[in-house]
């Protein structure tokens, strides 16, 4: 099983995210992360998602996506051709016994403390998904109160853009 990241430019229409996720669900594609946002143009939204599966599954997924009239452009993003990053907010129990260890780990991961009370610490971590996973596994030794991750944002290296190959 491989992880693939696909960036999809869609018409910025009401319910468009639902059209994509409905297709993923009914064809049982295994989507592990999804982000949707507005773009440089009001006409389009950008949806980035990760898919776990085999090569032929990915080809089928891309073909099915192209059949949705709202899909304008699709690009597969790989570690070589793109830059990816994710943001995580993690809330931990503020316990005097473990406070120093948390701070040491946060420093090593360049995590920033953005909220601090006598009962809790909220850290902000930015980086690739593997880094988030590592940080979470370190924090499992302590008491995690809450985690919120944005999902991966990915963009191609260089001057190429998704809008350059619109499929209209």
């Amino acid at each position: 099983m491989n992880r693939y990241t696909l960036a999809v430019l869609v018409r910025n229409q009401f319910g468009v995210l639902n059209r994509l996720t409905s297709m993923f669900r009914r064809r049982q594609f295994n989507i592990s992360s999804i982000t949707a946002s507005e773009t440089e143009s009001g006409e389009y939204s950008r949806i980035t998602f990760s898919f776990d599966g085999e090569e032929n599954g990915k080809v089928q997924l891309v073909n099915q996506l192209y059949k949705l009239p709202d899909v304008c452009s699709i690009k597969e993003l790989t570690a070589n051709n793109s830059l990816s990053c994710e943001l995580m907010l993690i809330k931990l129990k503020n316990d005097p016994a473990t406070r120093d260890e948390i701070h040491a780990a946060a420093e090593a991961f360049k995590a920033e403390t953005i909220d601090y009370t006598k009962d809790s610490i909220v850290l902000r971590v930015i980086g690739n998904s593997a880094k988030m996973d590592d940080f979470i596994s370190h924090m499992r030794d302590h008491t995690i109160l809450e985690i919120c991750r944005t999902g991966t944002a990915s963009i191609e290296k260089g001057s190429a853009t998704l809008r350059q190959n619109l499929n209209l």
């Binding site: 319910g15 639902n18 059209r19 192209y66």
Partner: protein
């Protein structure tokens, strides 16, 4: 000119070349029906007994004409009643536009009376759907829906129009009918690869489906077969594209396909598949399917390539244009050894034919054949009668067979036969079973009201025959809920609805009854009594391969 949304809707349908629509009125679509009243000289509306019947009628109309079928319903239950009809069209790639009313936009999302999120409900069974929230978008939305419905791989598109949008006014300007997107041939490099593979074939087999009818490519298919000396088979959806008595045509193949067709495909070294999707009813066990063959696959929908069966050469493109480019690259070569093998399969198939006396299913269909004109559309429901029809009907003209292939919708046939009669302007034939017919027999009221000439032949065995066949073969003859034990007198039923009908028990009686039916003005029902333990043969057991084919009934009944 300033018009209200309802007028714009009807004017745009007329502008798009739509002359007949099927539907059923209700509270949230009343404004559109008022406009249909206003423009009744330009557009004909057929009122059915149930919205499902209307959707199937639009489907039957689309299959027989190649045009976009249009169905109109109100909100809520009217809209949900369309669902099976839309799904049927979706699975068989039939161009359709479904228009539903809805509660005013101000009430959307408040669970108003007869409010349903029909765009949500139909998301997985439409090519696309629209919720129109502004009357200014209405005409262009309908135009885009028509374009989408008929472009590429056709399919149904739904438009949900809230009542206030039907009332609101805006400027309307008539436009010419939208053209479908320009068809494109597959890439040259892929066509060259395909040509190389086909030129190397010793035992080529052409296997085509509904895409050849949609793409109007039957002549190219025949030219291809002649040039490379190949036999031709098809899926259920491909039936009628090639005349049944064409010497190269071996008929349908798959679970209940013709023996020679299935065997030739199984023994081919190159299978040229055109506008088909290798459904499980065709392939059986996919790991054992045509193991010795390399598959060339042409389809306008790229997602069909390598979806269920891996092809060596997948060509995404219009089948007609792609074949036109491919044909000059092929070597004309006779393959006498292969044709001898195919001929031997045909001889073997002859020996399996059911030649029993009496009113057997095969004799019944062969008798119907005598009455079919070149332009007569035959529709079926789903089950044993559908397979007997597919195996034994004599097809002469493309688009003169309509059957629910992908979804397998029992109850499809009557609505479709009404739509087909409108589509062809001629008498249509419905071959059905007592189970299927029971699902939507209410549409007899429609056929009577509009005096639609539909000859209904009910293969009446008192059981759900296909279910019974599986229960006999795979469920230890536990006939769980498949014995109907009804007391319906179909001839009396026909008369009570204002039609006519009769029951028959022999081929001679059937012949005479068909003579009366084809002379009758309006719908006519023939209740054709057959035995409850008739089988559809041959049969490839589900998940089986050609080694498991059942050609003769050896079950103790």
């Amino acid at each position: 000119m300033q018009l209200c949304g309802a007028d714009i809707l009807v004017k745009t349908l007329i502008e798009q070349g739509c002359d007949t629509v099927f539907g059923y009125p209700g509270g949230q679509i009343l404004n559109v029906y008022d406009s249909l009243y206003k423009y009744q000289n330009e557009i004909n509306h057929v009122l059915t007994a149930h919205e499902q019947g209307a959707a199937h009628a639009a489907d039957g109309y689309a299959r027989t004409t190649g045009k976009v079928g249009v169905v109109i319903s109100t909100s809520g239950p009217g809209a949900t009643n369309l669902v099976t009809g839309i799904a049927t069209a979706y699975l068989d790639s039939i161009p359709m536009v479904a228009i539903c009313g809805n509660v005013p936009t101000t009430q959307i999302g408040t669970d108003s009376f007869q409010e349903i999120d029909i765009t949500g409900v139909t998301l997985p069974i439409t090519k696309h759907n629209y919720f129109v929230s502004d009357v200014a978008d209405l005409a262009d939305t309908i135009r885009e829906a028509f374009r989408l419905a008929k472009s590429g791989r056709p399919g149904p598109v739904l438009i949900d129009v809230p009542k206030d949008v039907q009332i609101a006014k805006c400027e309307y300007e008539e436009q010419p009918p939208v053209e479908k997107d320009d068809p494109f041939a597959a890439k040259n490099v892929r066509i060259e690869e395909a040509a190389k593979l086909i030129n190397s074939a010793k035992r080529p087999f052409i296997y085509f489906g509904g895409g050849v009818i949609t793409g109007d490519a039957q002549n190219e298919v025949l030219t291809l077969a002649e040039k490379i000396d190949a036999p031709i088979g098809c899926s259920l959806m491909g039936l009628s594209a090639i005349p049944t008595d064409h010497p190269r045509f071996l008929g349908m193949q798959g679970m209940h396909g013709h023996y020679a067709s299935s065997m030739s495909m199984h023994n081919a070294d190159v299978i040229i598949s055109l506008g088909v999707r290798f459904n499980d009813r065709v392939t059986g066990n996919r790991t054992k399917f045509a193991m010795g063959a390399k598959i060339v696959h042409v389809d306008v929908d790229g997602s069909e390539l390598n979806k269920t069966v891996n092809s060596v050469c997948g060509l995404r493109g219009d089948v007609k244009l792609t074949l036109q480019k491919l044909l000059p690259m092929l070597n004309a070569e006779a393959k006498p050894t292969w044709m001898e093998t195919v001929a031997a399969f045909r001889v073997e198939e002859e020996s399996y034919l059911d030649n029993r006396e009496g009113l057997t299913p095969r004799r019944a269909i062969l008798t119907v054949n005598k009455y079919l004109g070149e332009n007569t559309a035959v529709c079926t429901d789903v089950g044993q009668h559908q397979m007997w029809s597919a195996q034994n009907l004599k097809f002469r003209t493309a688009r003169r067979f309509a059957s629910s292939g992908g979804l397998g919708t029992m109850g499809y046939g009557f609505g479709a036969a009404i739509g087909a009669a409108y589509g062809t302007g001629e008498r249509s034939v419905l071959i059905t079973g007592d189970g299927s017919f029971g699902m939507n027999l209410n549409e007899l009221a429609t056929a009577v009201r509009y005096n639609v000439p539909v000859v209904v032949v009910i293969m009446n065995n008192g059981v759900l025959g296909m279910v019974r066949q599986w229960q006999t073969l795979f469920y230890d003859k536990h006939y769980s809920n498949s014995v109907l034990e009804r007391k319906t007198d179909f001839a009396a039923f026909a008369k009570s609805f204002g039609a006519d009908g009769e029951a028959v028990t022999s081929p001679e009686e059937l012949d005479a009854a068909l003579g009366r039916a084809f002379a009758y003005e309006g719908p006519y029902i023939i209740d054709c009594k057959i035995d409850k333990d008739e089988f559809v043969l041959p049969m490839l057991p589900p998940g089986g391969s050609m080694d498991d084919i059942i050609t003769k009934l050896e079950v103790e009944l």
